[in-house]
Assembly symmetry: C2
Amino acid sequence: MMATSRFFENLDALFNPETVAVIGASDNPAKLGYHVMKSLTEGGFRGTIVPVNPGAATVMGIESYPAIEGYGGSVELAVMVLPSKAVPGVMDECIRKGVRGVVLITAGFKEIDDPRGGELQADLSRVATRAELPVIGPNTFGVVNLNLSLNASFTPEFSLLRKGGVSLVSQSGGISHLMGFMAMEREVGMSKIVGLGNRLNVDFADMYSYLMSDPDTTVIALYLEGLDDPRKLMEAAKEHRGRKPVVAYKTGRAGSGDRASLSHTGSMAGRHEIYEGALKQAGILPLESAESLLDTARALAMCPLPKGSRVAILSGQAGPGMAACDLCEAHGLEVAVFQPGTQRVINDLLPPLALRTNPVDMGPAWYNALAIEGIIRAVMADEHVDGLIILMMYASANRGAPAGIAPLLLEWKQRKPVVSCFVSPQGIWDQDIRIMEGGQALVNCPSPERAALVMASLWECSKMMRYWTEEDRK
Amino acid sequence: MMATSRFFENLDALFNPETVAVIGASDNPAKLGYHVMKSLTEGGFRGTIVPVNPGAATVMGIESYPAIEGYGGSVELAVMVLPSKAVPGVMDECIRKGVRGVVLITAGFKEIDDPRGGELQADLSRVATRAELPVIGPNTFGVVNLNLSLNASFTPEFSLLRKGGVSLVSQSGGISHLMGFMAMEREVGMSKIVGLGNRLNVDFADMYSYLMSDPDTTVIALYLEGLDDPRKLMEAAKEHRGRKPVVAYKTGRAGSGDRASLSHTGSMAGRHEIYEGALKQAGILPLESAESLLDTARALAMCPLPKGSRVAILSGQAGPGMAACDLCEAHGLEVAVFQPGTQRVINDLLPPLALRTNPVDMGPAWYNALAIEGIIRAVMADEHVDGLIILMMYASANRGAPAGIAPLLLEWKQRKPVVSCFVSPQGIWDQDIRIMEGGQALVNCPSPERAALVMASLWECSKMMRYWTEEDRK
């Protein structure tokens, strides 16, 4: 069925509640209801938290109710952490109470061997959908909306994430946690993290449409295993293609993976190649790993898109430049041929080493901040260059290099994308990089290869978005 | 020419000196001679350091000599940080002094545009080789021997590395620094790091033979761009193939990469595919990135090799298991079919979720340490399983899981390789992982995909080594 506009208003309320009820809230750390309460209370959520547990007067010191209907105020979001058998009755209570959305963490539905799990899910889905009540899950870790400091998941540590523009919609709690922890380490700004689980009545297509209209979300990242109704996602995506960058990582290409997917969230993964083609048609860029999904989403949130495929590779040492060069050429980028004026500037600034064309080995200019600045300035302004890859490995003698070029890059404010790989022993360059990334001067990657791949993905995304924008305007 | 046995004795003395002279030592931080002195003095080298500088009575408080011949004792290693013009004269002095080996950091030889650079290098090479004097460089950052706390490089931070069995021989200083910093972060135990630079008379083939006989080196990692004499490396490698695991990463496959390689260290990179085949023939496993080179070398130093291609994937969450599954099947591993007894044990220990075959989703057993232990024990003992991939993403509720299974894995001591991906927010599982890795219970990777790739490379290496051991015995 098509989701109604009332359904989408409710979905918006689910992500932006004033009051959250936790049905199955607990003080016992051996219960998921404890961890959900911990996430909500420690995450800084400024709305009202209503524990529901017939056996407790308080949970974590907060007044508890035997049932949601016992609470006097209105409740926008109900998080359920209950045995599966209890869910239908509680769902009815939520509908009577006028709850706007449910996060159903409970497992034991479509994903289990027993056919009664599937039946239970189908029944619930009918009831919820008739009530225009969006339900995230079942069999999910929850949802997080960092813009609201709302951590409605069983993992309190998600609240450690930095606020930002990347929203992740995932079919796997494991991959969501992995991506979340990688995002913490790399200080990626996140907006929403949504574990779809078994997708009772909120699927990728619904989240896709919702996030396209969510002003806090600038980049959408999807983790897919299989889809019950691939066409529904593709239709939703096509409607919005070209509007925001969307990237996806899909597993389940292997034979055993297909079996696993069927079991895991109850749908076939299907042939990998078919999905890849369909995703691109829908304006979604397919990527090859969780690391790549995060690297790319992060860069899309921080960088302008390149207007062409021609990159300059400016390296503090030759080897990393060559590694980046290999990857660029293998992934659809061109190593730019500089304009004669640019090349003259570089030749004047570097000693007669042969590596002055692209890639440029700036090694001999380590001690000469003005030379490095001059090279970067000339290359930035070169109309034959659509993006810059800057690579530099720390050595005792070039300690000051990132701080030296930061003002220039900050001044440029990325009129073209700058993807870098500055690597030092922990602590030495961290602050310099943070300043440059914070000022949107560049996006830094942990290896030259990953920097090159990120630039290639930026270009792929740029081409795709431009193509669909123009195509759909016809 | 063939290197003589005297040449190799000298090479050994170069890596294990009692006295190191730094010719061009300086107190001025704007000189590389300062950074080399800093590396040696701060690195904990217990031999004698002899600064040589005609303009200084002391350097860093150590008595300095106007020329190496002024020093009364014997000198095994001379590190030169001089203008290129001064090198020939000083090289003669070193030979007269009976120096056993030279690390020539100075640039300005074969790598420069000016043909005089190439001539100077050729002349020097003749002189050094006639004297059976091995020279690492020119145009190198230096060499490091962690077993001796010898940091004869211009980067003092290399001394922060942990001692261990991996030796890296690299054509690029940049890649050596990158790998070194990655190794620090991941606590990889290193033996030697050697920047070959322009390879005056010590090439990959020489280092290969030397490291094969070096008892401290258990795994050899090579970073290659181009070789002047590929046949020489291949011959040396073939002589030793099957004896120690050797892995290589080669760049310069792209057209512009070839140009860059020619410039960078003066040799053509050549066709990538030809190299790949030749490397395998020589018993060297080619890899695709600096990260993969480090991941694999690290695992080879810590793990037994798998005896077959059949892996078990035990996952705390389904998604990461599927991601690993995809990569395993794409890279020559089989997802094992468990023996019936093993499957029965798993079925008894896990609730009736379909994901109990391989991959196994242990999610429902998070709270049940005995169940997880039982599954791992059964799979370990299964004769249809050659290696284990264990994946677990932290969630508040499974905090104790790694500590829970550590004793079992430590007891097993890796009769089969165990490659894991335990990921948590920083600090939570770090100590548990360190204990397991320290006790050789497993090798941990930052993502499920990289764990699967590491297992695939272990199997490739195992096959290759066994093949050549058997083949060469015929």
